[in-house]
Amino acid sequence: MAYCNRFNFLFLLQWETLCSRWCLITSHKLYSTVYDPNEKTFEKLLIANRGEIACRVIKTCKKMGIKTVAIHSDVDANAVHVKMADEAVCVGPAPTSKSYLNMDAIMEVIRKTRAQAVHPGYGFLSENKEFARRLASEGVTFIGPDTHAIQAMGDKIESKLLAKNAKVNTIPGFDGVVKDADEAVRIAREIGYPVMIKASAGGGGKGMRIAWDDEETREGFRFSSQEAASSFGDDRLLIEKFIDNPRHIEIQVLADKHGNALWLNERECSIQRRNQKVVEEAPSTFLDPETRRAMGEQAVALAKAVKYSSAGTVEFLVDSSKNFYFLEMNTRLQVEHPVTECITGLDLVQEMIRVAKGYPLRHTQADIPINGWAVECRVYAEDPYKSFGLPSIGKLSQYQEPLHVPNVRVDSGIQQGSDISIYYDPMISKLITYGSNRAEALKRMEEALDNYVIRGVAHNISLLREVIIHPRFVQGDISTKFLPEVYPDGFKGHKLTDLERRQLLATAASLYVAEQLRSQRFLGTPRIPIAKSKRSSWELSVHLGDGIYPVAVSKDGSSFSVEVDGMKLNVTSEWNLASPLLSVTIDGTQRTIQRISRNASGETSIQFLGTVYKLQILTKVAAELSKYMPEKAAEDTSSILRSPMPGTVVAVSVKPGDMVSEGQEICVIEAMKMQNSMIAAKTGKVKAVHCKAGDTVGEEDLLVELE
């Protein structure tokens, strides 16, 4: 026994050193893993997931002295979670159905590695009762609730009934089919306006009407039943209360196997696009302590009603009068759990593991604090200018997390050089900032977003930054409709004020001059420069958006004095032209900018206030002469795909009518025993496919046409 203890102790020491190294590599911790070495835990745990959540679980496991097994698909062989884990096993090819959802392969790995427990993360198999059942049958612990709770909460009708029985507020409605318009009006009055009339077989907004009075109810009933009949061949209708302009607020619960359950306060997740959360925070600006307690107590009541153990989330819709209604319960760790960890100081993954091992909770409800404020932004590889975000794929040619900004936590599972592929979620990371109050957390977030370097794929930093500085968001006036309401014509990037435009022009011009000056400094040149005079002023012409602005720059010691729109600005910086981040002080205002690209023709793109602006900087002379340059119509080759070389078509991944996104693989050509992936040059619909697998193609042969 004594030997055993000592062994454990040594083991721990070793892991502690490793842990501290990992912490350095990964992120500041804004939660604490309070680890009791005497509390026996699992020896080896398998993480049935990938990306940031796999890394997140591994971090806590390392702190707890648990060995980790990662699973991965073949394309993920070099992924960060694979490198972090003690062991890693490939479970299949890239498609999730063949790898991360491949239960047979995962069970085999569990047996082979003798993992005692499995953490499913979120998504994939995290709410799959069959997986939980198979684990249980082999005596492997599933880090999550038991099968019964997963099943009960996974069924929309059953969960609503359970919630009703547990006295949880549910959306008032008629749990049956409405016969006619008169009955509809009667029910609507009972529920209270506004109401939503929707098709029983509905989906996608079809056969759905909102009614604010009796008249509209009758009309809505007629239209909805017609539409439902034509769309679904089923005209049965339901009526429920319509929650106008709702907020999405959820309560984190934590329960053990001994009947104890806690609510760990709320998370505000109203900023969404296409029903996916983008910005989350804890606590919510909207809840008062009474509402919070009421929601928390109902969430705990529901958890207890299903004998819930582990961490879970009860989602509510909250209307403008602070009425809240149960939406659903997620029986897993949520993506946005870090904001709860920041304000409560708990390590939710550790608590999940403890509970799964059978330990009772270490806290009581009174111990759960709200310390400060935490905000989380989901940084996605997607183009925010297309319906608030369409996935982008590619290689992260440069990647640097803003960890030098204090109170920043970044949960990510990628690194410089990683591929964002079509196979998995395009999330790059979760960027979390913390402050003693909301204003401080938001200010940090601004700074963190400006200092985040992501190159090689499109990203949504511009959208995130606009959201968090928008006056409505700052005031806390948000709802799930925030994005479409604030940007009815789609997101277009930051709109520069006159002052900001001048700052951008001055910075870009100074950068240009700094570059010009540097290019003339040769080291160790054997010749004496034949300089007539040292140049100290430049007359430039900067093209930005629709405008062309004359800008005069003069060198003033180490800083530049820039004249734009008849105003003088002083621009100071270290002018490190290789650094991806450039700190510039313009008339005393510090800004972190990123020069994304430049070329010899004076074209440059600069990320300023989160948005990337394209500029062209020319000398005054060149700008004047450029009026003689012929206008050229851009040749559009993006809609046709030709074979770049002779070879054999190995696979064609699209068929006519398919939608493809830019960068998506269209077909694979093998030449010289090498497989070359042909990708779409733009997003669009496939018009025609001119090749099939096995075909031999020549150079410049037409392969696929897009519309």
Binding site: S519, Y628, K673, Q675
Partner: protein, 506 residues
């Protein structure tokens, strides 16, 4: 010092301008008049016509190419000639600019400046926009061309010579750019051909447009005559300025070193995973090059021709280097006729002008087939081999993956006087791929032979054991290692046996 030649049709009109009027005005007034007339070139109407064609006048072009106030014009008073001399103060380089169409007497002026440039060691830049030989002058004009060609040849390897084709350049005139080190073109407004579409039609009955026959696209993608094309005059001149900074002034100067902000010891972690684990999968060699060089800046030469080899200039810790890399993304990075010739010419330029060579190797071999054999791959492949073997500048080689067969030897191997040869852990230095080798050795009889071959040969150890690679390095450290090696090799001195000149297999 650098010299710029401008062959410009518009200036032709200078001729005879001063001869009008019965009583000549006083000398100071005549000087003034002549200057004014020269500044107007061919007159406002001609200038407008040039602008309408989307082109700039010679003087405007010079204004863009040079730093402001660094241009001193010479020989303004020479009739139907315009010889300019300018100084680019910032780069301590002088540009000499000639304008005018090519008559016999005029060619002498060009030769004068070229001789001067060669003497002081200054690059020559020619801005070509000329109809060609002046037919009226007959043999005198031909002699003028030949005089220039001779200067081009004598200056070759002494000073960098760059041609920028900014208009038509036909007939004998094309051989001057062809003899220079780099030929750049302006898209849609420049043409290079021996005989124009009309003559082609009458001789071979082919219907072809100027653009198809000798436009920028033809020469940068099909013929390989031009090294790069730019959008318009301004774009071309601004890019030329940038390109110029990579070059030394002459063969007596070392490769230039610029102020560098990119740390020489910067690790490049993404390189550790850039080579795919499946050896049949392609990756982009440009990704490797961009991530290793200073500030991701790479001036690619011939980017649209023989794309299975990548060549171009970059800087390492501020110092200009020439980069040669097989491109696995295109035809698996194999060597064929065009890529060998493209690579060879680039390597020889770097060697002539003291620019260190960095070679990235992922080559499955020479391209097989009758087209290649009949085309003389043996003779052309030998050029690249010759160029690497002959080069005495610092030579650093990194084998990223395949280095198979004769192509391994060719690609700046240790055996060809490579100074530092590295292999990444993914390197496979072998005579051929495992499958082919096993087929030849065992005729498919041994079942496990392929695996055995892979274990034995498809890795960097056999080469490293024999010292053919100096080290197996972690890819992320490649930049650090190369920067360090370049510092060490800066004082490299190596010579070949005396000869009149070598006999490269042309």
């Amino acid at each position: 010092m650098a010299a710029v030649r401008v062959l410009r049709r518009a200036v032709r009109l200078c001729r005879g301008r001063a001869a009008s009027g019965a009583r000549p005005p006083p000398v100071p007034q005549r000087i003034e008049e002549k200057r004014r007339a020269a500044l107007l070139g061919g007159g406002q109407a001609r200038i407008d016509a040039q602008h309408k064609r989307g082109k700039l006048t010679a003087r405007e072009r010079i204004l863009l190419l040079l730093d402001p106030d660094s241009f001193d014009e010479y020989d303004m008073f020479v009739e139907h000639r315009c010889t300019d001399f300018g100084m680019d103060s910032s780069k301590n380089k002088d540009f000499t600019v000639f304008g005018g169409s090519l008559s016999g007497a005029h060619a002498q002026k060009i030769c004068k400046i070229m001789d001067q440039a060669a003497m002081v060691g200054a690059p020559v830049i020619g801005l070509n926009d000329s109809g060609g030989a002046r037919i009226q002058e007959g043999v005198e004009s031909l002699a003028g061309y030949a005089d220039i060609f001779l200067r081009n040849v004598l200056c070759s390897g002494v000073i960098p010579q760059i041609s920028l084709i900014m208009g038509p350049c036909a007939g004998g005139a094309v051989y001057s750019p062809a003899l220079t080190d780099f030929t750049f073109m302006v898209k849609d407004t420049s043409y290079l051909f021996i005989t124009g579409p009309d003559v082609v039609k009458s001789v071979t009955n082919e219907d072809v447009t100027q653009e198809q026959l000798g436009g920028a696209k033809t020469h940068t993608a099909v013929s390989g005559v031009a090294h790069r094309a730019f959008e318009n005059d301004i774009d071309a001149l601004l890019n030329l300025r940038e390109f110029f900074n990579y070059l030394p002034l002459s063969n007596r100067d070392p490769a230039p070193v610029c102020e560098c902000h990119d740390p020489s010891d910067r690790l490049v972690p993404e390189l550790d995973t850039i080579v795919p684990s499946e050896s049949t999968k392609a990756y982009d060699m440009l990704d490797i090059i961009h991530s290793i060089v200073d500030e991701r800046e790479f001036f690619e030469i011939m980017p649209t021709y023989a794309r299975n080899i990548v060549v171009g200039f970059a800087r390492m810790n501020g110092r200009t280097v020439g980069i040669v890399g097989n491109q696995p993304k295109v035809a698996s990075g194999c060597l064929d006729i065009n890529s060998s010739v493209k690579g060879a010419r680039f390597v020889r330029f770097c060697d002539a002008f003291n620019i260190p060579l960095i070679t990235f190797v992922d080559v499955p071999g020479f391209l097989p087939g009758t087209a290649q054999e009949y085309g003389g791959i043996i003779r052309h492949g030998a050029k690249l081999l010759f160029a690497f073997a002959e080069a005495t500048v610092p030579k650093i080689t990194v084998i990223t993956r395949k280095a198979y067969g004769g192509a391994y030897d060719v690609m700046s191997s240790k055996h060809l006087r490579g100074d530092v040869n590295y292999a990444w852990p993914t390197a496979e230095v072998a005579v051929m791929g495992a499958k082919g080798a096993v087929q030849i050795i065992f005729r498919g009889k041994e079942a496990n032979a392929e695996e055995e071959y892979v274990d034995k040969f498809a890795n960097p150890f056999p080469a490293a054991m024999r010292g053919f690679v100096d080290d197996i390095i972690q890819p992320s450290t490649t930049r650090t290692r190369i920067c360090h090696d370049l510092d060490v090799l800066a004082s490299k001195s190596q010579s070949s046996p005396w000869k009149k000149h070598a006999n490269i297999p042309l």
